[in-house]
């Protein structure tokens, strides 16, 4: 299956009235890939995912998931994929086990088959001790785990996870990602959205959506090296804030922000580094270190957003 295409979107568009939420995006996701979908709130991430799940009809364009057209055959898509929505809403008056049984039943697992799958996932996700607890009384992290288990119970070949780790403590987040990596190793394709850029590093490829359009796409390392990412410079100084003030609005500076005790400045090209140095010297500000570094994803996306935003 490796190398085959699991998701293919062609000029996929969704309008709500006059508002274009997703504006003709095209991409492919390969089997077994972890495909990260990044972008600010309202950029069109959830709308795209809902169209791919067969929940929302596209206004234009088309998409195929596992070879099925999402608009014409949503049931085939729904049967073979799993979707954990952003709210990942649960029924507060149903227990952990009742949730699992409900999802198992909805996805066509009955009898002994259902029992085994429910037991297996309750163990796997660490909820076996809480099987009779009502979902409404579960701590936030456990609720997310339960929602994830319900999504994965029927062993979908394609999994859509919309912000699975929001509101989850750091330790549980790591467990979540261990699980996601396991899934992909077993051949499951994963499309995941997140606001945590450290998580995005786990992804095989990343797409950055902004204003309904994909403005960057590639493996994390590629994105950092790409000319479009600009050059990121790390500055160490006792006068970081005054330097930030001085360079922020310079025409060749894409983005500048504090990064712990250092300052990261992304400029357009490598020859801009010298101009940056000059600007700082002209103000008479002292610098201990000023050198290009491998940018973090945060630098890359801050830069891309600024470059992509209409002036």
């Amino acid at each position: 299956m490796i190398g085959a295409t699991t998701v293919r979107a062609e000029s996929l568009t969704r309008k709500f009235g006059d508002f274009v939420a997703v504006d003709g995006i095209s991409f492919e996701i390969h089997a077994g890939e972890i495909w990260g979908f990044l972008g600010p709130n309202g950029a069109g991430k959830s709308t795209t995912i809902r169209m791919l799940c067969g929940v929302l009809q596209p206004s234009a364009g088309r998409a195929e998931v596992l070879g099925y057209d999402v608009a014409r055959d949503p049931e085939a898509v729904k049967t073979r994929s799993g979707y954990m929505s952003q709210g990942s809403t649960l029924w507060s008056d149903l227990t952990v086990e009742e949730h699992m049984r409900l999802y198992a039943g909805l996805f066509g697992m009955y009898g002994a088959h259902q029992r085994d799958a429910v037991e297996e996932w309750m163990e796997r996700i660490g909820l076996a001790q809480r099987r009779t607890q009502l979902a409404g009384s579960l701590p936030g992290g456990y609720r997310k785990r339960l929602a994830l288990a319900c999504t994965l119970l029927h062993r979908p070949q394609m999994v859509f996870l919309d912000e699975p780790t929001s509101g989850v403590d750091p330790l549980s987040r790591r467990e979540f990602w261990d699980l996601i990596v396991h899934l992909s190793e077993d051949g499951t394709t994963v499309m995941v959205t997140t606001h945590y850029l450290d998580e995005a590093e786990h992804c095989d490829r990343l797409a950055f959506i902004y204003g309904g359009r994909i403005i960057a796409l590639g493996a994390p390392a590629e994105l950092k090296r790409a000319p479009s990412a600009g050059v990121t410079v790390e500055i160490l100084s006792r006068e970081n804030l005054r330097i930030l003030d001085a360079v922020e609005d310079a025409p060749f500076v894409r983005s500048a922000s504090m990064y712990g005790s250092s300052l990261h400045v992304t400029v357009e090209r490598s020859d801009d580094v010298a101009r940056l140095q000059n600007t700082i010297d002209a103000r008479g500000l002292g610098v201990q270190r000023l050198a290009p570094i491998t940018p973090s994803l945060e630098d890359v996306f801050a830069g891309i957003v600024k470059a992509g935003r209409p002036a």
């Binding site: 929505s85 809403t89 649960l90 149903l94 409900l102 039943g105 909805l106 066509g108």
Partner: protein, 375 residues
């Protein structure tokens, strides 16, 4: 139709319904409370507190008053010594009727003249007043008649035959018992209210909580989802019907004249109307509050127009047309027909067919709208 998925949803709905103790209590107790209330409430106003000003103070006047008391419609509570005293009791609401017997009552009777007795009734409640007045009139004429017969007998003349002897028979309900009329009505009303309300809330609440979306993401079809949600409600509906019937039979001594099986079948037909209406409202309303108001908007007029309280035959023509647009009207006719009159499908088929027709229209519209809302 994948029955396993329907069953999965039904199990979920049962679990949720029976987990919520307050809803269970409300749903199960509502019919009981209604039957008991309506069973004991009666428009037949008996033992009306009465004030009397007897100026005659004779054996004859006391006999007349005894006739009033024996009718069981009047209960003499106060004795007045003036007209003012009578008026005061009625004005103050302590008495609902006043009887004034003139001083020459006995004398006039003996002179074979007609004495005038005044009966005043508080007619704020027209129904109660009408009953009291007609009873008073009947008492008057029967007292006169008895008096005449007695006098004729005393003078040795044989008593004459009364001109017209009306033998009145109250069919289907020989005891003229109010509860026989009201219990079937309560059954119909509870079915309409509970089923519409529960089907509306099960969808609207789930949509407000965002859990409806979770279900839509699964491969379930909207028809399977709806059926899975409606099956438990039908069970609850049948539990309600059974409770009401048991209460009617064993508490109020109502005997069901017709076929219980036919009754249960028409309840099934009526489910399409009530559950359909609930679903329809859930697709119109944006919030739970709005839905509750819409339910009342539909249910209150249908209750008034159905003939539950006011007979359809007594309504103005235009309102009668409206009442024929209310499915509850047909259901009520059927339920009363079966329980009170004991008639079967041979007489009730037009109502049953109309009920099926309305059920089909409402339910089909609801399903179509529901499917559209989901996409």
């Amino acid at each position: 139709m994948n029955w396993n998925r329907v069953w999965t949803i039904a199990v979920k709905e049962y679990t949720q319904f029976f987990r919520d103790r307050r809803t269970v209590a409300a749903t199960m107790l509502l019919p009981l409370i209604q039957v008991v209330l309506y069973g004991y409430l009666s428009t037949d106003v008996r033992y009306q507190p009465t004030v009397v000003w007897d100026l005659s103070q004779t054996a004859e006047s006391r006999q007349l008053l005894r006739a009033f008391t024996n009718s069981e419609y009047f209960s003499i509570k106060y004795v007045a010594r003036s007209m003012n005293g009578v008026v005061r009791r009625i004005d103050g609401g302590q008495a609902l009727a006043g009887i004034v017997i003139p001083p020459n009552y006995a004398t006039l009777l003996h002179q074979k003249k007609i004495p005038k007795v005044m009966v005043a009734v508080d007619a704020s409640d027209a129904t109660a007043a009408r009953t009291a007045l007609s009873v008073a009139q009947a008492i008057g004429s029967s007292v006169t008649q008895r008096m005449q017969i007695k006098q004729l007998q005393m003078s040795g003349v044989p008593a004459p035959q009364v001109g017209v002897d009306i033998r009145a028979r109250a069919w289907y309900n020989p005891g003229l018992r109010q509860e026989l009329f009201l219990v079937p009505g309560v059954l119909a009303l509870v079915m309409q209210f509970t089923m519409t309300f529960l089907s509306m809330s099960t969808i609207v609440r789930e949509r407000e909580l965002g859990t409806l979306e979770q279900l839509i993401v699964s491969p379930i079809r909207s028809s399977e989802l709806l059926l899975g949600k409606m099956l438990p409600l039908m069970t609850i509906g049948y539990i309600n019907v059974t409770t009401i019937l048991l209460l009617a039979v064993f508490w109020f001594g109502v005997s069901i004249a017709g076929s219980v099986l036919l009754l249960y079948f028409t309840v099934l037909v009526f489910f399409f109307t009530t559950l359909g209406l609930g679903t329809l409202i859930s697709t119109i309303a944006k919030t739970y509050i709005q839905a509750v108001q819409l339910v009342q908007f539909f249910l209150l007029p249908s209750m008034l127009l159905s003939g539950f309280i006011f007979p359809v035959a007594a309504m103005p023509r235009v309102l009668q047309w409206f009442s024929y647009l209310v499915p509850l009207t047909y259901f009520l006719t059927i339920v009363r027909g079966i329980i009170v009159k004991g008639v079967g499908i041979g007489y009730l088929w037009p109502q049953i067919l109309l009920l099926m027709f309305f059920g089909f229209v409402v339910f089909a519209t609801a399903v179509l709208r529901f499917r559209k809302r989901i996409d």
